[in-house]
Amino acid sequence: MIEFKDVTKYYPNGAIGLDNVSFKIEKGEFVFIVGHSGSGKSTLLKLILHEETPSSGEVYVNEFAIHDMLKSEIPYLRRGLGVVFQDFRLLPNKTVYENVAFAMQIVEAQPKDIRRQVPVALALVGLSKKARSYPNQLSGGEQQRVAVARALVNNPSILIADEPTGNLDPETSWEIMDLIEEINQRGTTVIVATHEKNIVDQMKKRVFNLEYGKITRDVLEGNYTNED
């Protein structure tokens, strides 16, 4: 599903993003990636999305080899990945329904598929009643739910969430994490980069700890830190 083999990423300014990292994430797994800012979390996610390419080593995501693929294949890689950001990134001039439908329009889905699948995605995140609202009429948690619906509407096999609860209060954060766990239980592989110790400690999932570009810890049913 996702495999990194001896991956190192240098940036042009000499900064190290990742330093000889290897791991494998199987289909259906739920993985937390934790670490301080600058530890390499973002680099890791960017490599999966082909926003960056590795300086050395091999990266495999679904059927794509990130280190060796054509630029024209990138859209197809990304159609297999759903992405959720800390700042939601909804389009303010489109309604909830339109924001989700937009994700299907730009991959040129059939209009009848759009009409069928958007309501399903909105129902999954519990926002069917807000379909006609605009993002600025929603709470932060609701906006993030729309973002999750948008990430899922094209049925990606992997969901990537970069600090999905970073802008939310604790209670709402839990709602979002419950939603993401539910999605994982339906078979979607989930990768969550986060700073939230509470959440990581309580959910008991696989945890990667990154420090200075290296994976210093990779444990199943782990905690945020080593002190158990």
């Binding site: 926003e51 859209p75 197809y76 990134r89 329009q105 730009i106 040129e108 094209n154």
Partner: protein, 300 residues
């Protein structure tokens, strides 16, 4: 490409131009200004070449025979002219006919030719060729024949006109290139505003897996709208002024002593051609401008 994708792009393209109305107007004005300046050169070239060809086709080659030419030699020359495929038509003027023609020309001032008799004049052939380009070759062949004294035709003025036309062509290409660069940069700046306003949207589209051309489409349409609207406005303005000028020149040429020398092509003959040229240039400007402006944001 799917029809609904086309519809989406056209719709978004129009929305973009409307949202940025002021900048769109500025860009369209620039396209209009460029095309009008280019248009002046274009009209000049078209008319110059039209008149050059007209003059060439009217060009008459006059072959004067020696005054003591033998009848046999003169007949030989006539045979050569008659059988030559390049000749459209010719007249053989005897000394008497030449004298009669002269007398008709000076009918009001007969004293000018007083004392002149046909004997002083030379027999001549007046020749029109099918293709004016054959002139130098044809006259060279004739001049080698016995009995030919002199061949005259207005070569020098034709050559000068040809050279002038060449430079006008070069000039208009240079002007076009300069104006193209200026217009393209202004159009691309306009579209950059739209791209900048929609950079979040573009970023999201990239993450979701939109193809580059799908993202670029609406901006390309925006650029082409700017170019096409500019072309149409320029065409309307050009037509109006050209029509006024050409009608004036063609009706007043005789009055101003230009006689048959200068004529302007009428608008109806070149209107379609001008519109096509304007549209193509306008749309190419828009196309290049939009490509430049989106490129930066596509590299995510």
């Amino acid at each position: 490409m799917k029809i609904r994708t086309m519809k989406y792009m056209v719709k978004e393209g129009f929305a973009n131009t409307y949202k940025n109305l002021l900048m769109t107007i500025a860009s369209v004005s620039m396209v209009v200004a460029s095309l009008l300046i280019f248009g002046i050169f274009l009209m000049f070239t078209i008319n110059l070449s039209f008149n050059l060809n007209r003059l060439k086709s009217q060009t008459e080659i006059v072959v004067f025979l020696k005054s003591d030419v033998a009848v046999m030699e003169a007949d030989d020359i006539e045979l050569k002219i008659e059988s030559d495929e390049r000749v459209a038509n010719y007249i053989r003027l005897s000394k008497e006919q030449a004298f009669a023609q002269l007398a008709t020309t000076y009918i009001e001032d007969l004293e000018i030719i007083e004392g002149l008799t046909p004997e002083f004049l030379n027999e001549s052939f007046r020749i029109h060729l099918n293709n004016p380009d054959d002139i130098s070759e044809f006259t060279e062949e004739l001049s080698e024949m016995n009995g030919v004294e002199e061949i005259s035709y207005p070569m020098e003025s034709l050559n000068k006109l040809s050279t002038l036309m060449h430079w006008v062509n070069v000039g208009s290409m240079v002007v076009l290139a300069l104006l193209l660069i200026i217009s393209v940069s202004i159009i691309s700046n306009t579209i950059k505003l739209t791209v900048y306003a929609r950079r979040r949207e573009i970023g999201i589209m990239k993450y979701i897996g939109a193809k580059d051309w799908f993202i670029r489409g609406p901006f390309v349409i925006e650029g082409m709208i700017i170019g096409l609207v500019g072309a149409i406005l320029s065409f309307v303005l050009t037509s109006y002024f050209y029509n006024a000028v050409s009608t004036f020149v063609n009706t007043n040429a005789v009055e101003y002593g230009l006689n048959d020398l200068v004529r302007m092509v009428s608008l109806s003959n070149i209107g379609g051609q001008i519109f096509l040229i304007y549209s193509i240039i306008g749309m190419v400007m828009g196309l290049i401008g939009s490509f430049i402006s989106v490129r930066k944001y596509l590299n995510v």
